[in-house]
Amino acid sequence: MLDQSIIEKLKTIVGGENVATETQDLLCYSYDATQMEFLPDVVVYPGSAEEISRILRLANGEHIPVFPRGAGSGFSGGSLAKGGGIVLVTTRLNHILRIDQENLLAEVEPGVVTEHFQLEVEKLGLFYPPDPASLKFSTLGGNVSENAGGPRAVKYGVTRDFVMGLEVVLPVGDIIRTGGETYKGVVGYDLTRLIVGSEGTLGVVTKIIFKLLPYPEAKKTMLTTFDSIDGAARAVSTIIGNKIIPTTLEFMDYATLQCVDRRFNLGLPAEARAVLLIEVDGDRELIEKQAAKIHEVIKPLGLVEFKVAKDAAESEALWKVRRLVSPSLRDVNPDKYNEDIVVPRSKVPDVIRRIEQIQQKYDIPIVNFGHAGDGNIHVNIMIDKAVPGMEEKAHDAIAEVFKAALDLGGTMSGEHGVGLSKQPFIPLELSPTQIATMQAIKKALDPNNILNPGKMFPAG
């Protein structure tokens, strides 16, 4: 429990109505999408960078842990108050400060919801491509801190690729700006890139300058069905080998299709073993050509059906197949571990085969789908926590899945981050020297280890 005098000081900084200490409030800020729960001591809702600076100075002086939090929709426990302390919610900072059409950039506060920002720039014919699945409710601050990706990363890249500059409150309370409004800029270290994806361990982001693109003229959605998982996996590298970079290349394996079909009756051909949802965007004529070319090059790979959406409504209908995946999975088993490994895209067939072997070895259902276009596979290990021993088995299976990804030149997490969930596995991917280097940076910026402590690095 925090001393009452600390609570009073927090109230002085942000105002009494922006400090919550009732049990019901604490409970509602104890979870994220991992379903882990850690009760904080207090929740604060600051309204400015200056207030955040004063909170961090106070916390740094008193050695109180502070956990920055956006929408609390993370998949790694990165915003959870493990060990207790102050949860610092950034959702009051929810203004789009400016959209600069001449320089194709926008400046926003971290609490803006991703989709809201996208819709606002689209009104001006502009485009902010990063599209994490949670975009309707996740915050841009959270996206930056976790370096969120999404289906469109195949062509456009991830959040990091759109961040030009930041305003950050450092753990000791200093406010700094990093980067700026120019694409070029080589003076000093690239602190912007250091902060992006640092999972709230190095600073609290309070302003973000995003690069924007012109909104593409048109898009085309295709649902392609294959008679083997291998055919679908090879289609991915074949399309890109033919110098076409689709906007998205979403992949669903047989187990996934069965789940969705059981619930929603997709009417897929009987020989369907895998599906690729492909989207291209750009000039109207160009995408017509690209769609035709894609059809041509994937035909020999066991293609059993090729559906093209004629309009936005049909496109939405095709996407629905992908969107129905999550609600369908629970029919396999009530609990799941949702991992997000990445391999070089040419290695997708190999990693799928390795996962199949792991599934057989441990006799646990594993359902795979995801962003095959950039090698990012969502590996869902479906378990029932009520069955004794299953959780332990799943843990071992996860470690093997990670090892498979690493053996093939990949990484254990493409989007979700380390947080608490992947912490135990970090030594599989990072060498002791790499970890020591990162910890040296952490120590330099946060000497008292008050900002999101106990995350990312192995305990001890």
């Binding site: 994220d32 409710f137 629970r330």
Partner: protein, 420 residues
């Protein structure tokens, strides 16, 4: 049995992904997690386990739900947060007792005589009624003045309630459908013109219209306070009134009443009584919305809805939207000569009434409503049209607060323009 046990399995379905944050109007207004569906589910989980003493604190959190069903429609795991909140409210009411306000609501809606008295008193006393209304007035249900600030614009009451104006059975042509009309309090006491329009339209189609005199309030305002005992009592009385005639359809012109008969009665009333449940389900299956039924019976709005040129925009009542009734009223309205429909932004968003929510959280209800008014005004429409008298009252209040003169009308009023 603890009402929360009823939703034990549903409670487990929530994985705290946060998707509801994008759709919950209460969260949009408060911007704090306990107001979001996910927060309420988390609190309900602890209420069920009773591992933390939360009863007093969570009472307020649980009151911050409009039961609009938006989160349920959009939830990837199909968590029925509306059912969970109803169960939590019931559990809290059992453990702590009802609030004075909700006790009064229950006392009034259980008693038809009190309601009629209230209505008559209002006609005599006019606007004064609302300032001097006794706590037992029938309309406390919708206008419980002691809880409402002076800002609220309250609609005029009808001189004679709808139910007192017509015989119980209005015979139609032989071979045409027999329809029981469940009128609802708002239509009976305030928007009687909606009832008249419904009557005119179904008589135009040759239907026999039956208006059982012993029908009661649907009880949903009681449900929003956790007073399930009252809901059950009213459900049983209404069941008797509605079953008396072997009708082809049970028709409502109020989205909320329709929601009660169609969804909430079987959900919260009959679960532990199979015989009662079978009867409630039979009624639920026969229950249709007026616009839905008019279209089904082949109403031609060019015959009945012609009138002066009018620009309108349409608001989707939550309790029609969640039943999938969004297309039918629009198609009928657009078929009425002289009517030009412009869609508003967020037509499917809750108006903020939410049973007794608008009383308990009037300022927040107003805030939600202000966004609605803004969207309506942006269309430049002369009238906003909807299928729920509850929404009508709320929309009128919001538009008047915004200083606008936009008319608020029911779908049926437009469709029956030429029958007047």
């Amino acid at each position: 049995m603890d009402p929360l046990k009823r939703v034990e399995q549903e409670l487990k379905k929530c994985v705290k992904c946060g998707a509801c944050r994008a759709h919950c109007p209460a969260f949009a207004a408060w911007q704090r997690e306990p107001a979001a569906a996910r927060g309420k589910v988390a609190l309900a989980q602890h209420l069920m386990k009773q591992d933390i003493d939360l009863d007093d604190q969570t009472y307020l959190a649980m009151s911050k739900c409009l039961l609009c069903g938006s989160c349920v429609e959009k939830c990837p795991n199909e968590v029925p947060t509306d059912e969970i909140v109803i169960a939590a409210r019931e559990a809290l009411a059992e453990r702590r007792g009802l609030t004075t306000f909700h006790q009064a609501v229950g006392r009034v809606i259980r008693n038809r005589k009190l309601m009629n008295f209230g209505a008559l008193a209002a006609v005599i006393l006019g606007p004064l009624f609302f300032r001097k209304v006794p706590a037992t007035s029938g309309l406390r249900l919708r206008f419980p003045l002691p809880f409402v600030g002076g800002k609220r614009h309250i609609p005029q009451l009808a001189k004679k309630p709808f139910l007192n104006r017509h015989p119980e059975v209005i015979q139609g042509e032989p071979g045409k459908p027999r329809i029981v009309f469940f009128v609802g309090c708002m239509t009976n006491f305030v928007y009687t013109e909606v009832g008249e329009a419904a009557l005119a339209l179904f008589r135009h189609l040759g239907c026999t219209v039956i208006i059982p005199k012993d029908q009661q309030c649907c009880g949903l305002p009681g449900m929003s306070g956790g007073d399930l005992a009252t809901v059950r009592e009213l459900a049983v009385k209404n069941l008797a009134a509605l079953e008396k005639y072997d009708a082809d359809y049970i028709m409502t012109a109020c989205a909320t009443c329709g929601g009660a008969l169609h969804k909430f009665y079987p959900l919260v009333v009959g679960k532990r009584n199979p015989e009662l449940q079978a009867r409630l389900k039979a009624v639920a299956e026969k229950t249709v919305d007026a616009a839905q039924l008019l279209q089904q019976l082949g109403l031609n709005p060019t015959e009945t809805g012609a009138g002066e040129a009018i620009t309108i925009t349409y608001h989707d009542p939550c309790h029609l939207r969640t039943r999938g009734i969004t297309r039918q009223p629009r198609e009928l309205l657009q078929g009425a000569p002289g009517v030009e429909l412009t869609e508003m932004e967020g037509a499917d968003k809750c108006c903020g009434l939410g049973g007794t929510f608008n009383v308990y959280h009037y300022d927040t209800s107003l805030k939600i409503n202000a966004g609605k008014s803004e969207a309506i005004l942006k269309t430049g429409a002369e009238a906003v049209v909807t299928g729920c008298p509850g929404c009508m009252m709320q929309l009128s209040d919001g538009l008047k607060q915004a200083g606008a003169r936009t008319r608020v009308m029911h779908t049926l009023e437009i469709l029956a323009r030429k029958l007047r």
